[in-house]
């Protein structure tokens, strides 16, 4: 039922994603990257995709570290 005084009711809640998008733009830091992340999270399976990215990064770090150590040990001869 409509408001007695016929003024617009309490504003419809802005979706969180829009709220966050506004906050990201306002901050002005890493805007593109953060907006892309937001889009990814909104999509179905977005969380899983990001988890997978985290896993991949972990593997990359460990593998590269292993190679650096091997290269150093080889150069130390």
């Amino acid at each position: 039922m409509s408001n007695l005084f016929d003024t617009p009711g309490p504003a419809e809640d802005v979706p969180v994603s829009a709220e966050l998008e506004r906050a990201v733009r306002e901050r002005g830091v890493r805007v593109e990257q953060r907006l892309a992340l937001l889009s990814e999270l909104e999509e179905e399976g977005g969380e899983e995709a990001i988890e997978a990215r985290i896993d991949t990064l972990e593997d990359r770090i460990r593998e590269a570290s292993r190679k650096v150590a091997a290269a150093l040990r080889g150069s130390g001869r």
Binding site: V24, L37, L57, E58, R62, V68
Partner: protein
């Protein structure tokens, strides 16, 4: 972006062959309170289920609906032959819209339903377009439906007893459920582990790098320590020291080579590199080893000869004495008993005598034989006293002959024989002795002569063999000493050389390590994997920081929204709660942590209420939340209504009255549909002015819902 909201509501339901509805069924709904009354099995729940199924389809029928009992939810009436369908008429902004869901009679279990929406202007939408329209117009999804529209018996208690569920419910009450979901989602991703992994791996790389840089230094110190243990201090370690020691070794080598009579050149020290020296030292060692072998052989031979000479010298005198003794013994024997010739002559004589004796014995035996024959003849003849020859009577002849025969056996020949035998024995004994002594003499001679020959081999035919032998022995001993000394010196020189070589090797390593220790080891920038590691860590850091920033932004936004809304919601919640359970004084409190916001139900004193409520009170609280959410949506001009399926069964008498009052209050703001068994609540509600009552008849034998009566309420 969405349009400005409009409170869409249901105005009518048309159902065909849906669950308890057999054939076609219609029902209208008012803005205010709609009461559906009927006994068990009359079809009350089927009507409410029809509304749900039309809006949400398969979601309401699965176990994943969140309602366990829906796992084997049957959509179709058992007697139905045709399609199942439900249509809801909706009062939208521009007029009536019709939402229809149909399930074909022959549809497979997994096949989707057909959904269509006829808009007020007649446009027909289907499939995803319908979903989009529903979302665009803020109609609830299944999750919101369960918490803000419809009370399901099964979920009644879950609504408030589970802490996370409670916080989510309350967040929903505040219109912040989406924020809750976002912060929960962002929290569930744990990128912080990348920080830990990066730190671990960088620490590992640093350790390896330090080890690599330090390696030449460590080696240097280790080598200095080894050299120190061999008596070479750090201060001595230089090229002069090396040169001096190399020179010493070369001089020693030259001397040894001369002594061993080796050929080959020993190089000069000047300008000789360590590598060259090392190479030469190995060759020299091989040469010396070969030369030493020759000397060893000579030494061995000499030692053997000296041994033989000494044993010869030691044996020759006794041999000579033995020879002379044997000779003397033989001479004595010959002197005493005569020699071989004499012995042979005696034996010859004895032989002759023995022959004579034998002849004599032969003659005797012949005589005896004759006499015996005469006796036998005489016995044979009757005339035993007659001579067998001339037949003269001789009465004593036979006796005389017999006596002669007896006598013949006993004569002096026996003594002669015995004497001959004795002489034989004696001569035999003499012969044996002579032979023995001759053999001994021969042996002694042989021994003596062979030693003499051996000695002559060593010393030649020297006039004084003993002295010559001694001189020879001394000469050889001297040579042995000299050879021994040379070999010993050579062995020591080789050992020393080997030791020096090891020492110089250490020195060489020390020098190389010293050069390396100053160099910068492991320039990381040139290692490709290092560049990759940095890139991976940068990416990890960026992702982590971005996710954490978004989570912080979501939390911050949620907090400011919470502050905006909590007062308005608390007014509604408190009112309903006090209506159902007077004096409860409930309100929502926001508890903020760094990571998230939690919502709690507290009483007037600020204490959390859930742990102390009994079951009926929990149910009452659950209704309060439902009503408050519906009202909040209504106040925001969003589609909102309340559907209650036999709510009275979960409350005690005291609270039933309160519930009725609360329902009345809510129904003045949002449409309410209550399905109720006839009883106290139904009686109470029926009396309300804005209550439209539809009474359902007793269930038919063949199934189907029957409307017995309809009592219209006064529309608001």
């Amino acid at each position: 972006m969405s349009e400005a909201p409009y409170p869409i509501r249901i105005t009518a339901l048309h159902a065909r062959d849906f669950r308890g509805v057999r054939g076609d069924f219609e029902m209208k709904f008012d803005r205010g309170l709609n009461l559906i009354v009927g006994e068990n099995g009359a079809g009350k729940s089927s009507i409410l289920n029809a509304i749900e199924w039309c809006l949400f389809g398969a979601e309401v029928t699965k176990k994943s609906s969140g309602i366990d009992e829906r796992a084997d939810f049957e959509v179709r009436h058992r007697e139905a032959e045709g399609d199942v369908s439900v249509t809801l008429e909706l009062a939208a902004r521009d007029g009536q819209a019709k939402l229809t869901r149909t399930r074909a009679a022959d549809a497979k279990k997994s096949a989707p339903d057909e959904v269509s929406l006829t808009l007020p202007d007649g446009e027909l939408l289907d499939g995803e377009e319908v979903e989009s329209w529903m979302e665009w117009n803020h109609l609830p999804d299944w999750s919101v439906w369960k918490h803000a529209f419809c009370q399901h018996q099964e979920l009644l208690r879950a609504r408030v007893t589970n802490g996370t569920e409670r916080s989510t419910q309350l967040a929903r009450l505040l219109g912040l459920d989406e924020y809750q979901e976002w912060t929960a989602s962002l929290r569930s991703l744990k990128p912080q582990r990348l920080k830990k992994v990066a730190a671990e791996e960088l620490a590992r790389v640093e350790e390896t790098l330090l080890h690599t840089i330090d390696a030449p230094g460590r080696e240097l110190r280790e080598l200095e320590s080894q050299l120190e243990a061999r008596g070479v201090g750090r201060a001595e370690l230089n090229d002069d020291w090396l040169h001096t020691r190399m020179t010493t070794q070369l001089e020693t080598a030259r001397r040894i080579a001369d002594k061993l009579e080796l050929g080959g050149e020993v190089p000069e020290a000047r300008g000789l590199s360590l590598d060259d020296w090392t190479r030469w030292s190995r060759e020299w060692e091989r040469g010396v080893s070969a030369g030493s072998n020759e000397f060893e052989r000579e030494l061995g031979t000499l030692r053997t000869r000296i041994g033989e000479l000494e044993s010869t010298l030691a044996g020759i005198e006794p041999a000579r004495r033995a020879f002379e003794d044997a000779k003397r013994a033989l001479d004595n024997e010959v002197r005493e008993h005569g020699g071989e010739t004499q012995l042979a002559s005696q034996l010859e004589e004895l032989s002759v005598e023995r022959s004579r004796l034998v002849e004599r014995e032969k003659g005797r035996d012949a005589t005896i034989a004759l006499l015996r024959h005469a006796v036998e003849e005489m016995e044979r003849r009757a005339t035993a006293g007659d001579c067998p020859v001339c037949e003269t009577p001789l009465p004593d002849l036979k006796a005389s002959l017999v006596a002669r025969v007896e006598q013949a056996g006993d004569d002096g020949e026996r003594a002669t024989r015995e004497a001959l035998n004795a002489r034989q024995t004696n001569l035999d004994r003499q012969r044996a002795t002579l032979n023995e002594r001759s053999s001994l003499l021969e042996l002694a001679r042989t021994t003596f002569e062979s030693l003499g020959t051996r000695l002559e081999r060593f010393i030649g035919s020297a006039p004084e063999p003993a002295r010559a032998a001694e001189e020879k022995r001394r000469e050889w001993m001297k040579r042995v000493e000299s050879l021994g000394a040379t070999l010993e010196e050579s062995r020591r020189a080789q050992q020393e050389l080997r030791s020096e070589r090891e020492l110089f090797e250490l020195f060489g390593k020390w020098r190389a390590a010293g050069n390396q220790a100053e160099a910068v080891a492991g320039d990381l920038g040139r290692i490709r994997a290092w560049v990759e590691l940095q890139a991976a860590i940068d990416e990890a850091a960026s992702l982590t920081v971005d996710l954490e920033t978004l989570a912080a932004m979501a939390r911050s936004a949620q907090e400011s929204r919470s502050r905006e809304k909590v007062d308005a919601v608390n007014a509604s919640l408190g009112r309903h709660s006090d209506t159902i359970t007077p004096g409860a004084g409930l309100r929502v409190a926001v508890k903020a942590t760094a990571a998230q916001l939690n919502y709690k139900l507290v009483n007037a004193d600020g204490d959390e209420v859930i742990p102390i409520l009994n079951q009926a009170a929990l149910h009452a609280l659950s209704f309060s939340l439902l009503f408050a959410q519906a009202e909040a949506r209504g106040a925001a001009e969003l589609p909102a209504w309340v559907m209650l399926d036999d709510p009275g069964q979960s409350l005690d008498e005291e609270r039933l009255e309160g519930l009725a009052v609360a329902i009345e209050a809510v129904s003045s703001n949002v449409p309410v549909i209550v399905a109720s068994f006839p009883g106290a609540l139904e009686s109470r509600l029926r009396r309300l002015e804005n209550c439209r009552v539809v009474e359902l008849g007793a269930p038919r034998v063949q199934g189907g819902v029957v409307v017995r009566s309809v009592q219209e309420g006064s529309a608001l």
